[in-house]
Every structure is written in structure tokens, then in C-alpha cells.
């Protein structure tokens, strides 16, 4: 009982201190051909609300415009035309969308040159522009 109380206290202190897990990162060695037709730009048709694997929430707003900046093995990489997107864990990183077959696979982190996967793919309503 005492041990459980100690662990609970530790967890509480940790949460209060912002001891979030670090964002999962897969290093990208070089760009890849994703083998699908890529849109140079798209508009998001519906708002997407998601919880990152670290527990933080992010919202992609309907009507936001995304520009193709490249591709990695996990999909095409799209940068927001306006505004910023970040993923957050123990630290905060600027991020771009990684999209494949009309679904969001994860995020590309340009500074770290790495890929951060989502727990599960999220279908996107994509409008070509």
C-alpha cells in the first residue's frame, strides 16, 4: 500500500513537472519515391482532431492548405502553407504531415530529419488545388 502510494505520488510529481515521453523518432537517411501520384498542394476538407502518442492533442483545421515538399518511405511530406504545426512530447518539434493513400501516417521533423509515426493512420478528406 505504501509502495503504491509512493508510485502514485511520483507519477503525480512527474506529471506536474511535465515529464512527458519524448516524441518517437525514426531517422530518415534519404528521400524516397512513394510510388503514388502526389498533389503539389491540397486543402484539408474536414477538421482532424488527434491525440499524439505522447498524449498531447493536435487539430488540423478544415480549409488549411498544405504544400508538397518531398517524400520519404512512409509517404509524401506536406508543409503548412500558413501557420505552424508542432508535435510535442518532452520537447516540441516543428513538424510536417506525412500522407500516404489519403491518410495521415505520421510527421516529418525537418530539424531532426526524422519520422515520427502516429499510433494509427488517420484518413484525411483531401481536396486537390
Amino acid at each position: 500500500m505504501k509502495r503504491a502510494a509512493s508510485l502514485a505520488a511520483l507519477a503525480l510529481a512527474c506529471a506536474a513537472a511535465g515529464c512527458s515521453p519524448e516524441v518517437t523518432l525514426v531517422k530518415i537517411v534519404k528521400p524516397a519515391d512513394v510510388g503514388e501520384r502526389q498533389l503539389a498542394t491540397f486543402l484539408l476538407g474536414d477538421t482532424v482532431r488527434m491525440t499524439l502518442p505522447t498524449g498531447y492533442e493536435r487539430v488540423l483545421v478544415a480549409g488549411s492548405r498544405w504544400n508538397l515538399v518531398g517524400a520519404i518511405a512512409q509517404g509524401s511530406v506536406y508543409k503548412p502553407a500558413q501557420g505552424v504545426l508542432t508535435v510535442e512530447g518532452a520537447n516540441i518539434h516543428e513538424a510536417y504531415l506525412v500522407v500516404r493513400d489519403g491518410a495521415l501516417n505520421g510527421f516529418y521533423l525537418p530539424v531532426e530529419q526524422g519520422y515520427s509515426p502516429l499510433g494509427s493512420r488517420i484518413p484525411l478528406v483531401i481536396q486537390a488545388r
Binding site: A13, A17, G18, G83, N91, I92, E94, L109, P110, V111
Partner: protein, 146 residues
């Protein structure tokens, strides 16, 4: 009762003296020189919230201390395009990483949160629109840091 009133006055004085007191953004922003076209500009600001006002960590950009996080204060630096990392010297290190393009303006907002024992301050990368809207309420706290 008298002691309580004196204590409250002392606390209020401490909080007020901890806040930035320079000119407001709109009074001075137009006077800031434009930098080299190949550079981008990074704005740093912290809303003037009383909580944690006594916590004023250093602002560290790519390993170099460039200023302090003062409640209600802002400053900026011009830097070449590239990758950047901002860290505050608080009890819990929490960095933000971002890219900077030529001519681009980035806004780093410094927010107060609750740590294990004391308040702490951490940096966030915010939209240009958000940054422009919020920085106007803050005061300039120094020349451009090199």
C-alpha cells in the same frame, strides 16, 4: 492585519518590479532595422502574467545565451536561414526545434507552467498570426542580441 496588508503590498511590488517596463511593441517595432535578406527574424516574447513572475530564465538559442525571459517583455534576433533550437534555463529543460527560412519571421512564446515545486517557463513555437497578436501587449527589453 497590518502585517497582512504590508505583506500583500510587498508581494504586489515584487511582481510589478519583475515585469518589463520598456516601450510597447507598436511604439518601437517600426524602428527595428531590416536585416540581411538572407536572414530570418526570431521574436521572443512572454506575456505579462503575474504567476511565476520571479522566474526569469535565460533564453538559449543553439547553445548561446541571447537574453532573458522577462514577464511582459520581448526581444528579437536576426539569424541566417537554418535549423534552430530554443531552450530556457529552467528546472526542467524543454526545447523547441524549428526551421528558419530567408526573410521568415518566427515567434517563440514563453509560457509559465507549474513544475514540481515552483513555476517554470517553457518556449513554444506559435503561428505568426498568434505571435503578432500577442506581442503587441509586451514591452521591448533590449537591443538585438548577437
Amino acid at each position: 492585519m497590518k502585517l497582512l496588508r504590508m505583506s500583500l503590498a510587498l508581494i504586489a511590488l515584487t511582481v510589478l518590479s519583475a515585469c518589463a517596463s520598456g516601450p510597447k511593441y507598436n511604439e518601437v517595432a517600426a524602428t527595428f532595422p531590416r536585416s540581411n535578406a538572407a536572414d530570418g527574424r526570431i521574436w521572443f516574447y512572454r506575456p505579462g502574467i503575474a504567476f511565476g513572475a520571479g522566474i526569469q530564465p535565460g533564453v538559449i538559442l543553439n547553445g548561446t545565451r541571447i537574453g532573458e525571459s522577462v514577464p511582459g517583455g520581448f526581444f528579437y534576433v536576426d539569424r541566417p536561414a537554418g535549423n534552430y533550437e530554443v531552450l530556457l534555463s529552467t528546472e526542467v529543460d524543454r526545447k523547441v526545434t524549428f526551421t528558419l527560412a530567408p526573410g521568415q519571421e518566427r515567434y517563440i512564446k514563453m509560457t509559465v507552467g507549474l513544475g514540481v515545486i515552483v513555476y517554470r517557463v517553457y518556449p513554444e513555437l506559435v503561428d505568426e498570426g498568434v505571435g503578432r497578436g500577442e506581442i503587441v501587449d509586451t514591452s521591448y527589453i533590449g537591443g538585438q542580441k548577437k
